[in-house]
Symmetry: C2
Subunit: 212 residues, 2 copies
DNA sequence: CGAGCCATGTAAACAGTTACATGATTCT
DNA sequence: AGAATCATGTAACTGTTTACATGGCTCG
């Protein structure tokens, strides 16, 4: 009866299958695109999880022919699976303090050279500037209903509910955009800090030869 | 020779031990306070990792008496350990797309009732408003040099380098503060969205008795 | 003497990553 | 015929969480 604290993969698979039936491979490709920014998993995690979901009746698998000799297994969400989706969302997932390796490293930058610290922050800045652009593009695709899976989902959704389906996906992305912007800003702040500090606060770039 | 992609626990332990020698228990308590917002680990991870670090010479352990019969093992960072710290920070840790269970769930809120969605976002808002306050308090403690471990660290640091030691820790916290603010803002945006959507977009609060 | 803190451990389970592997189909 | 794509798997390992466990020290 107990639901594990972390079952995001399960949730993600059920959520995707609620749009249309898919094979493990299809799901893998979905994780490589749009949804992949929210959650992702390698195929080595997807296939076993699908078998588990089938065993407990949340999805139904069916072998489909593929070409002459080939087959593939297509999964569709069951009524129990949809109930599970509702049930997961009916419980609050408590936010918790997140570990952040980048923030941790930043806190001890006195052990880095100025150049290394700068390189780290530039990588951070570059990554999140690009991420922000990416997320904004996704956002536009969502609100313009230009994502294939979203279109299929909407086609299977009662007209009066479509508005919400789009709005929640767009909402998730505004969070990603805001976060990326905050990270980029932080990196810029760090770069200014680096420039403002005197050379003596850093580990020397060329360490003395004999350090004993 | 290869360094694992994720060695934040190792980094955190070395960074803490660079302030002063500590036992596993001391480190555990540190993770329960200040530094714990940047990184944390349970004792079941700390003790084995310390033994590993000792085996490879990055820390040196020494048994200390405790009362009459008791002992405890105190670890101090070695020269090799400090080199390791510098070495880790000399390489850029590439930022990557983070999975976020909360954003994932938000994207599929059409499967929730309005009340459940609101409860989720209120929990998010409450958590991050509190976190922001907490982080700001920590920030003040840092810049005013009121954190015991930081004071000990500064006492062992050459005067001309102290400025950086404080500034980097403060910098890490500005990132935490900005992020918490962004999350709180996002939750508020979500609450406004919920209020703006018509009732039909949500799963019914009281499901029909006979769902077939 | 008991509560609460100090101190350290094992073991099982789970989530996620990486490496290795296989074979069919489709397109050029 | 070979390359790219479709499709699915096993196995080993790392990092993290959770449960269970033990015992000494200090203070009231």
């Amino acid at each position: 009866m107990r639901r594990p604290a972390s079952m995001s993969l399960r949730f993600a698979l059920l959520a995707l299958l609620s749009a249309r039936p898919m094979t493990g491979f299809d799901l893998m490709r979905e994780f490589d695109s749009s949804v992949g920014y929210l959650w992702t998993a390698p195929h080595t995690q997807i296939y076993p999880e699908l078998r588990k979901l089938e065993k407990v009746g949340l999805v139904a698998g069916e072998d489909k022919p593929r070409g002459a000799r080939g087959t593939k297994r297509e999964y569709q969400i069951t009524a129990e699976g949809e109930t599970e989706l509702r049930s997961i969302l009916s419980e609050v997932l408590q936010p918790r303090f997140e570990r952040d390796p980048h923030r941790l490293r930043a806190a001890y930058m006195e052990w880095a050279t100025r150049d290394a610290a700068r390189a780290q922050l530039l990588a951070h800045l570059e990554f999140y500037v690009a991420a922000e652009t990416l997320y904004k593009e996704e956002y536009e695709l969502i609100v313009n209903e230009q994502i294939p899976l979203l279109k299929e989902r909407l086609a299977r959704t009662a007209p009066e509910r479509r508005q919400g389906v789009v709005a929640f996906k767009a909402f998730a992305y505004t969070g990603m955009i805001e976060r990326a912007r905050a990270e980029a800003q932080w990196a810029e702040e760090g770069l200014r800090l680096l420039d403002s500090l005197p050379a003596e606060v850093f580990e020397p770039s060329d360490r003395p030869v004999a350090k004993r």
